[in-house]
């Protein structure tokens, strides 16, 4: 038969258990808004009972542990999808910038500059003729050249900004890798006595999730509680040791370009999806495509206008090219024409009324150009715009869809690991009641002691 002390012990264990539950509830409430925090739950178990001849009498309750309500599968899935979202978003952001550089439906500055250039030639070609119209041709040509140069410089700036972002992401990535390694060591130390370091694990998982947005990583958990981080086939974090990423400039056909490699390796890293990969792709694919297409438009314009203009003559010149260069970066108005507008040739003879060259140049806007199938220079430009618009629209769609996937997983994650104040409130009432009840038992045992003592 259990003694009063035994009952007191059981009640005390209930008091302690209720306190542990209340403390965990308080911890959960305190971290309800902490990013990466995983709600914790106290697991209780009945103490081993006293076995008496007439049966087993319980000895109270014990706190078995405090567990994190985490789902590793869901977490990994969320990281993979977040990596993709970060990649699509990075490309979408760059395409947004490219589109801003090219203008908008109401402000298609390069298209307008080309239209105005050809319109100026048309005015020059339309009788009654006026020498002053040559000023307009030169002015619109200079405007067009300036716009090509401005777009080229904006694309240069954009590439430079992308590379700055890449550099920042690498710094950020290296910092996160270092933090994960440090967390590994802390967790290893904290869990050496067999108790899980829940909050440290939360922090490490949060760091790895941040890492995943920069580049998709594989994570392997060791028995000692540490996690190895593997990226692009290379183990970057192994327990407390870290290998960092670094950027370097390598020579390519189009000049020096930033490339990413790991310390101790000279080969460029083949990046997995993530913001870093998105930035690299947008620089190497999207921006390069736009630049190549605009170069082709500028080249065609230069060639077609020059082919006609060299056939023309004025009182003081013949065989002059109108433009020089072969890309939007190098296109320039012939310096002789810039300084002397009268050298703009309108016809194949120097007669004032010979408008054949001006008329043919003006009509280039309607003419299929060499090597461009049935398309005109304008068609080539519009085709480039459509390509940018399609890619932007496509990536907007991908980002929106991927955002939905990530939101859905985040919601699921929040549902599983997030803190519910209602639930914690209910737990609080439950633990409070439990504590009150246990205290009442203690009080009753005290009274029983008093009764007993008074009998003596």
């Amino acid at each position: 038969m259990p003694g009063l002390n035994s009952i007191m012990d059981a009640s005390l264990s209930a008091l302690f258990a209720a306190q542990a539950g209340m403390a965990t509830t308080g911890h959960n409430i305190a971290n309800a808004n902490t990013p990466g925090y995983t709600r914790q739950d106290v697991t209780f178990a009945a103490r081993r009972p006293d076995i008496l001849p007439y049966g087993a009498i319980g000895r109270g309750v014990e706190v078995q542990g405090i567990r994190r309500m985490q789902d590793e599968f869901l977490l990994n899935n969320l990281r993979v999808q977040s990596s993709r979202l970060a990649s699509y978003s990075a490309i979408d952001n760059v395409l947004y910038d490219v589109e801003a550089i090219l203008g908008s439906v109401d402000n298609d500055h390069l298209g307008n500059a080309m239209n105005e250039f050809f319109a100026a030639w048309n005015t020059l070609a339309t009788p009654p003729f006026a020498e002053s119209n040559k000023y307009n041709v030169v002015a619109t040509a200079e405007s067009l050249v300036r716009d090509f140069h401005a777009i080229n410089e904006s694309l240069d700036d954009l590439e430079s900004n992308i590379e700055n972002d890449i550099q920042l992401e690498i710094t950020n990535l290296n910092g996160l890798l270092t933090s994960v390694a440090e967390m590994n060591e802390q967790i290893m130390a904290a869990e050496s006595n067999g108790e899980p370091a829940n909050d440290l694990r939360d922090q490490r998982d949060f760091l790895i999730s941040q890492l995943s947005e920069i580049a998709e990583v594989n994570v392997l958990e060791r028995e000692d509680g540490t996690k190895d981080v593997i990226l692009a086939g290379r183990t970057l974090v192994a327990r407390g040791s870290v290998t960092h990423f670094q950027s370097t400039y390598v020579q390519t056909s189009s000049g020096y370009q930033m490339s990413i490699m790991t310390q101790g390796h000279n080969a460029a890293v083949n990046l997995s999806p993530g913001r870093l990969e998105g930035l690299m792709t947008s620089r190497d694919v999207q921006v390069t495509q736009v630049r190549d297409n605009l170069d082709a438009v500028a080249r065609q314009l230069i060639e077609e206008v020059n082919t006609l203009h060299v056939q023309g003559r004025t009182d003081n010149s013949s065989g002059l090219t109108f433009f020089s260069g072969d890309s939007m970066h190098t296109i320039e108005l012939n310096e002789a024409i810039r300084s002397n507008n009268h050298l703009v040739a309108t016809g194949r003879t120097s007669a004032d009324g010979d408008n054949t060259i001006a008329e043919e140049i003006a009509n280039l806007i309607n003419q299929s150009v060499n090597g461009a199938g049935h398309s005109t220079i304008g068609d080539q430009y519009r085709s480039m715009l459509t390509s940018v618009a399609s890619q932007r629209s496509s990536f907007e769609f991908l980002v929106e869809n991927q955002q939905n996937v990530v939101s859905s997983l985040e919601n699921k994650m929040a549902s599983l690991t997030g803190v519910s104040l209602d639930e914690e409130g209910a737990n609080m009432v439950r633990y409070q009641n439990s504590y009150n009840a246990a205290a009442k038992v203690v009080s009753t045992v005290q009274e029983m002691y008093d009764t007993l003592m008074n009998m003596v």
């Binding site: 309800a32 808004n33 709600r39 589109e99 090219l102 908008s104 439906v105 109401d106 298609d108 298209g111 239209n115 319109a119 048309n122 005015t123 070609a125 339309t126 009788p127 009654p128 003729f129 006026a130 016809g347 003879t349 007669a351 004032d352 009324g353 010979d354 408008n355 054949t356 008329e359 003006a362 009509n363 806007i365 309607n366 304008g378 068609d379 519009r382 085709s383 715009l385 459509t386 940018v388 618009a389 399609s390 932007r392 629209s393 907007e396 939101s407 985040e410 919601n411 929040a414 549902s415 997030g418 803190v419 519910s420 104040l421 209602d422 639930e423 409130g425 209910a426 609080m428 009432v429």
Partner: protein, 513 residues
């Protein structure tokens, strides 16, 4: 599975919903503010190329309209000048007639000579007309006066080049008349007086009708006396027969289409009165020469014959069909008479080949559906029928060919007036008539250009309207739909805000004491 609703879950859902509602509302507000469906290129990539292309086409179209307006300055200026020239020549003819008559005296001739000198000066002023500093009769040498006095004579210092301007994506037209046509110092000319335009037949291409002006594809409305109206789309027709077949098919025999009795236009037969009108703003019926109402049961269309060409068969020309085969003509030039046998000719091209091969130095040309004989010196020549077939008259070339020297002729007239040679004054009349014919032809040619400009302007304005309408369909917002969507988005956003604020306000903690 029951969802565990945590605070972060609730927050995530509500914030996402709020953002979505706000995004939708902003999008609708942007559309309502600008009345545009599309702003950035990515809003509708499919439409972006179309919109930019329409913008470019509208811009080009505006340029063509400007070209038409500016070209009109030249063409109208030329018209005024030609009318002035015509008036001066009429005065000169009256003067020559008067001074070659019995009433002329030495004093009157001297006065008339002064008057002719004034006429020369007037003509120089007219032919040196400038539009915005351009000498419009100087060919390509626009910066130089067309005619100047040199060595006591008026000489032409321009060239024989025409100036072309673009009036559409695929069409250009000449707008000036080079002054060399009035110089006439290198040739003599005989312009035929017979219209050689061939009769219309079923295979005549619509693109060649109305002396090559062509037609405007579209719809026509045909009605009869019973009040039945048929709107017929003939835009896919390519020949006269296509139009006739389409009308006969569409009206099911109520109206019978065919060629008119003169063979130079269309005819629609039905219950009187038969009427053909345009559909909408079209110009199809007019371009087919049939936009009219009959007094009887036959609506006979206007003359829409094509231009005479080298391939035109002589049998297809109404004025000479009854005189085939042709006979011979005598051409007397530089003291030699040559008989040219034209009996083997079956086409206008055959006539040209035979004539050009018979008299070196002379050419036969077809200009504006008439024959023109040209000698490559200023010597006069005579053409007459060589046999009873009366071929020269049939072809309209019986007569005298002479140079068309505008100023040379007036200088000759002035000299003859000074010398008092009435026969010589009378002799100038032939060349004077030739020049008047030349000016008349130039007026016809210029009038045709004015009509072409009118036509081009009409087509360009219609094209502008169509392009802007298509552009609007692609890029403008549907106002009613946007207003409705905006209202819905605002309501949705406000509802989201209310729900969010209330949800955040209520949790269990409020009820615990």
């Amino acid at each position: 599975m029951t969802i565990r609703v945590t605070d972060s879950y609730l927050s995530s859902i509500l914030v996402n919903d709020l953002n979505r509602s706000l995004g939708r509302m902003l999008e609708q507000q942007r559309m309502a503010g600008s009345m545009r469906r599309i702003h950035s290129f990515a809003d509708d990539p499919r439409a972006i190329s179309t919109i930019q292309r329409y913008n470019s086409l509208i811009s080009s179209n505006e340029e063509y309209l400007t070209n038409v307006t500016r070209s009109r300055l030249i063409v109208d200026g030329t018209d005024v000048a030609l009318q002035n020239i015509s008036e001066v020549l009429a005065d000169a003819r009256v003067l020559a007639l008067r001074e070659s008559s019995a009433i002329a005296t030495g004093q009157s001739m001297t006065t008339s000579a002064i008057e002719v000198d004034n006429q020369i000066n007037r003509l120089m002023d007219v032919l040196n007309t400038t539009i915005e500093g351009n000498y419009i009769f100087s060919g390509h040498s626009l910066g130089e006066p067309a005619f100047v006095r040199s060595g006591g004579m008026v000489v032409y210092q321009g060239d024989d080049n025409e100036i072309f301007t673009r009036t559409g994506p695929n069409s250009t037209m000449a707008v000036n008349i080079p002054g060399h046509v009035f110089q006439g110092t290198s040739s003599s000319l005989l312009t035929g007086g017979v219209d050689l335009a061939p009769q219309l037949d079923l295979t005549t291409p619509l693109s060649s009708i109305s002396l090559g002006t062509g037609w405007q594809p579209g719809m026509i409305a045909v009605s009869d006396g019973a009040g039945t109206t048929f709107e017929i789309d003939v835009s896919s027709a390519t020949t006269i027969n296509d139009v006739i077949t389409m009308v006969n098919t569409a009206t099911g025999g109520t109206i019978t289409a065919g060629l008119n009795s003169q063979g130079n236009g269309l005819a629609f037969t039905g219950l009187a009165p038969v009427s053909v009108t345009e559909v909408g703003d079209g110009n199809t019926a007019a371009s087919l020469g049939i936009n009219n109402t009959s007094s009887g049961n036959v609506l006979s269309g206007n003359d829409i014959r094509p231009n005479a060409e080298l391939t035109t068969s002589l049998a297809d020309i109404a004025s000479i069909n009854g005189g085939l085969p042709l006979g011979a003509i005598d051409v007397t030039w530089q003291g030699t008479t040559t008989t040219v046998d034209l009996s083997s000719a079956a086409t206008l091209g055959d006539l040209q080949t035979i004539f050009n091969g018979s008299i070196p130095g002379m050419q036969l040309e077809i200009r504006d559906s008439t024959l023109v004989m040209i000698g490559d010196t200023p010597d006069q020549f005579q053409v007459e029928s060589a046999d009873a077939t009366n071929t020269a008259s049939l072809l309209g070339v019986a007569g005298t060919g002479s140079p068309s020297r505008l100023f040379g002729m007036l200088e000759d007239l002035k000299a003859h007036l000074h010398s008092g040679d009435k026969n010589a004054i009378r002799g100038v009349m032939t060349e004077l008539k030739n020049i008047e014919d030349t000016v008349f032809q130039m007026m016809m040619k210029n009038g045709g250009r004015q009509r072409d400009l009118d036509w081009s302007e009409e087509i360009l304005r219609q094209r502008d309207e169509r392009l802007r309408s298509n552009l609007s369909l692609e890029q403008d917002a549907d106002v009613a739909a946007v207003a409705s969507e905006l209202s819905r988005a605002e309501t949705s956003y406000q509802a989201s805000l209310v729900v969010t604020s209330q949800l955040y306000q209520s949790n269990l903690m409020q009820y615990l004491r």
